[in-house]
């Protein structure tokens, strides 16, 4: 409607927005958009509807319960606890992965000999799935009996075996959960940091050396770290997004435990477990989605991500 007024003037040969491009635009984006509407937006709408019903073992329920499911979820200690679990998990996993991948990148970046070898060694675990890694962790590395690797090493040191995953007290299971992620993810983010490190202009270091800055902590603090700002924020955001979706390792490592159950595992049990409660499951999923939206928006505000869509 307002097109003629808003048409940018004086942009030379650049094609102008108009009817002629509509067909081309829909040809390119139409199929994708249709899929997005059907497989992303429609399910969300449907579950909005389901969440207002008593919907056990059915997806076409008839018993309207209003906001009852939402109230049940919010007053359900276990659901709230699962959000707490996620928070603890993110507090451990995100900074640790960040630090380890940055440290690996700095190490690999500084060497000349065998660089490709070390880079590959750290990057290789990225090829493994969470399921395969959980399997190795549960059945071999942190197996609770004497023939697990960790317990074998403890045995060599004359210490008792530890049942790593059996009990939340002491919370050894966090060690297992967090190391799986560290192993799988650090190499990936190391590559990001390596690429960024290579893009830092050498001149900066030379100038700093002339100004008397000593190589090591000082140059790292005043040159490397500020130069990595964009990459660092991107890595933190990616790590957080990945943490939200934590499911695989919890599901495979902590079977039938009531602790260490992040939101997705809780929702899986609710909606696809014994009760098949799609009403409660939908309400929980929507609450979680809402929460993540809020966090993402807040984060965008703090880290200055919102503006990226302007580019």
């Amino acid at each position: 409607m307002a097109t003629p007024l808003r048409r940018p003037a004086g942009r030379g040969r650049r094609p102008v927005p108009g009817r002629g491009h509509a067909l081309a635009f829909w040809l390119f984006t139409g199929p994708f958009l249709a899929g997005l509407l059907v497989f992303v937006y429609l399910p969300i709408g449907w579950s909005l509807w389901l969440s207002l019903f008593e919907a056990r073992s059915t997806v076409t329920p008839t018993e309207f319960v209003g906001l009852g499911n939402y109230l049940t979820m919010l007053s359900d200690g276990d659901f709230v606890r699962s959000l707490g679990t996620f928070t603890v998990f993110a507090l451990f996993a995100v900074p640790l992965t960040f630090a380890l991948s940055l440290a690996l990148a700095l190490l690999v970046h500084r060497i000349r000999f065998l660089r490709a070898f070390f880079r590959s060694a750290f990057f290789l675990p990225t090829a493994c799935s969470y399921v395969a890694a959980s399997l190795v962790w549960k059945m071999s590395v942190f197996n609770g009996v004497r023939f697990g690797l960790a317990n074998t090493v403890l045995g060599w040191l004359g210490l008792d075996s530890v049942a790593w995953l059996a009990s939340p007290d002491p919370p050894w299971y966090w060690l297992v959960i967090v190391t799986v992620r560290l192993w799988l993810q650090s190499g990936f983010y190391m590559i990001l940091f390596l690429a960024a490190l290579q893009n830092i202009p050498r001149v900066l270091y030379e100038a700093a050396a002339i100004d008397g800055a000593r190589p090591g902590w000082q140059t790292f603090r005043h040159i490397t770290l500020p130069q990595l700002r964009t990459t660092s924020t991107a890595v933190i955001l990616l790590l957080l997004i990945a943490a939200y979706q934590a499911f695989d390792e919890f599901y495979n490592l902590l079977d039938k435990a009531t602790w260490g159950r992040p939101p997705l595992v809780y929702l899986y049990n609710l909606a696809l477990g014994e009760n098949q409660d799609y009403g409660l499951g939908s309400a929980g999923a929507l609450l979680l989605a809402l929460l993540i939206c809020l966090v993402t928006l807040l984060q965008g505000r703090f880290l200055g991500f919102g503006r990226e869509s302007d580019t």
């Binding site: 197996n143 059996a166 079977d255 039938k256 435990a257 009531t258 602790w259 477990g273 014994e274």
Partner: protein, 420 residues
């Protein structure tokens, strides 16, 4: 009241829309089915089993299916998370026609399964009475028992002798025995990772029940809370095997010498005898909690059900009748040739020579003297709720009383839903 009627109207619109989408789904489901089955007789049935641990069982199940003439039966063998897979499959348009499970009332109330009285008829009297009553819901029998699987404690006689102890007959004695049997290589006792298998026996052994005959909560007593406290002390100590790679149903931990006693089932007896010879004894879960306490054996097992959503309910029923009622030779094979299971049919059990001597005979004896069967009113979500109690009050350090209160709320809600 215009407000209400307009809301009603909206709802009906929504429902119609949903129905439309569901119909669309049904249409495309038909499209996807064409590639399947399609054998000589034209009828096809899907039969679902959980994955049995004993070698040879899957081949046997397939052999039985193949031997059936009146339909093409395809066997689905589900390793791991059987309940979840089954419930989701039953909900879908493409679920199993015949499946094995435990009797649970909500499945009958929600019309997921159909009554089987008409195929049982004459054979009813040939079944163990408890196997009929535990499958009777509102006067109708919903499942045909395939196998009875008592669960009890296996122990290594030689290790008990070496420690100078008798087989324990109270919970305190069991805990003490576990502690005495523990060395730096061998743990005293293994009860599975989740403790789920002993949750009902623990309650029964205090003299309590899961539910009253009128389906009210009966598990919440002082004795049960006390027993949970004792179990917590055991769990926090060093005598219990924790973090083993296999669950309680697999005798591997016991057979590999990781523990001196293990809660396991009758099914594993052949493997256990092979590993330890006659160095094995069995006892029930010992009495816990004072004078009204009693030893308890859990009489689990599996039963055949027919899905109400089966494309041809009568064909599915006919197959169940053929396999689990008529084919006594197959029933005998299923019960005795792989693991040990007690045949629910009196006539089959009478010919089960394997179960008439030695440890197996002791197992049958425990099944008869101390065994308690499933209560169909005790549903899967109630089982899960109690498993959460075990997790919080025993594996974690929460107060049993508070955990039982929490469980009460959930289970009462469930009971209200079922019985109104």
């Amino acid at each position: 009241m215009p407000a209400i009627s307009s809301r009603e109207w909206d709802r009906r619109d929504l429902l119609r829309a949903a129905g439309g989408i569901a119909a669309l789904g049904a249409l495309s489901a038909c499209g996807s089915n064409t590639g399947r089955g399609g054998g000589g007789s034209g009828r096809s049935l899907k039969q679902m089993y959980h994955a049995y641990g004993e070698p040879g069982t899957q081949q046997a199940a397939q052999k039985f299916a193949k031997a059936y003439r009146d339909a093409d039966v395809s066997v689905q063998w589900i390793p791991g998370e059987y309940e979840k897979k089954l419930f989701t499959a039953l909900l879908s348009s493409d679920g199993p026609d015949v499946f094995e499970f435990h009797p649970q009332i909500h499945m009958a109330h929600e019309r997921q399964i159909v009554p089987l009285d008409d195929i049982l008829e004459d054979a009813k009297d040939d079944f163990n009475e408890a196997d009929i009553t535990s499958h009777t819901i509102d006067g109708k029998v919903y499942g045909v028992r395939m196998i009875d699987d008592p669960q009890f404690l296996y122990y290594r006689k030689s290790l008990l002798d070496k420690a100078g102890i008798e087989p324990p007959d109270t919970l305190d004695a069991l805990i003490e025995a576990a502690e005495k049997l523990t060395t730096d290589k061998v743990k005293g006792l293994y009860l599975g990772q989740t403790l789920q298998p002993i949750q009902s026996p623990l309650i029964w052994s205090t003299g309590a029940e899961l539910l009253t005959p009128d389906n009210e909560i009966a598990y919440h007593t002082d004795e049960v809370a006390e027993a949970l406290r004792k179990l917590r002390r055991l769990y926090a100590g060093k005598a219990l095997l924790k973090g083993a790679p296999t669950e309680h149903w697999d005798p591997a931990s016991f057979n590999q010498g990781l523990c001196a006693m293990q809660w396991c089932g009758m099914w594993a007896m052949p493997q256990i005898l092979e590993a330890h010879g006659d160095d094995v004894g069995i006892i029930p879960w010992p009495s816990s909690g004072g004078p009204q306490g009693r030893p308890a054996v859990y009489n689990g097992g599996w039963s055949a059900f027919v899905s109400a959503k089966a494309k041809d309910v009568d064909a599915a029923k006919a197959f169940v009748k053929w396999l689990w009622i008529d084919q006594k030779e197959f029933q005998r094979e299923w019960c005795l040739d792989y693991g040990f299971h007690i045949p629910p049919r009196k006539s089959v059990a009478a010919g089960a020579e394997e179960l008439k001597s030695g440890l197996a005979a002791e197992g049958v004896e425990l099944f008869n003297s101390a065994g308690i069967f499933d209560n169909p009113s005790w549903t899967q979500s109630m089982i899960t709720t109690l498993t959460d109690v075990m997790a919080n009050a025993v594996r974690d350090d929460a107060d049993p009383e508070a955990e039982l209160d929490k469980a009460d709320r959930k289970i009462r809600r469930e009971l209200d839903k079922i019985f109104g």
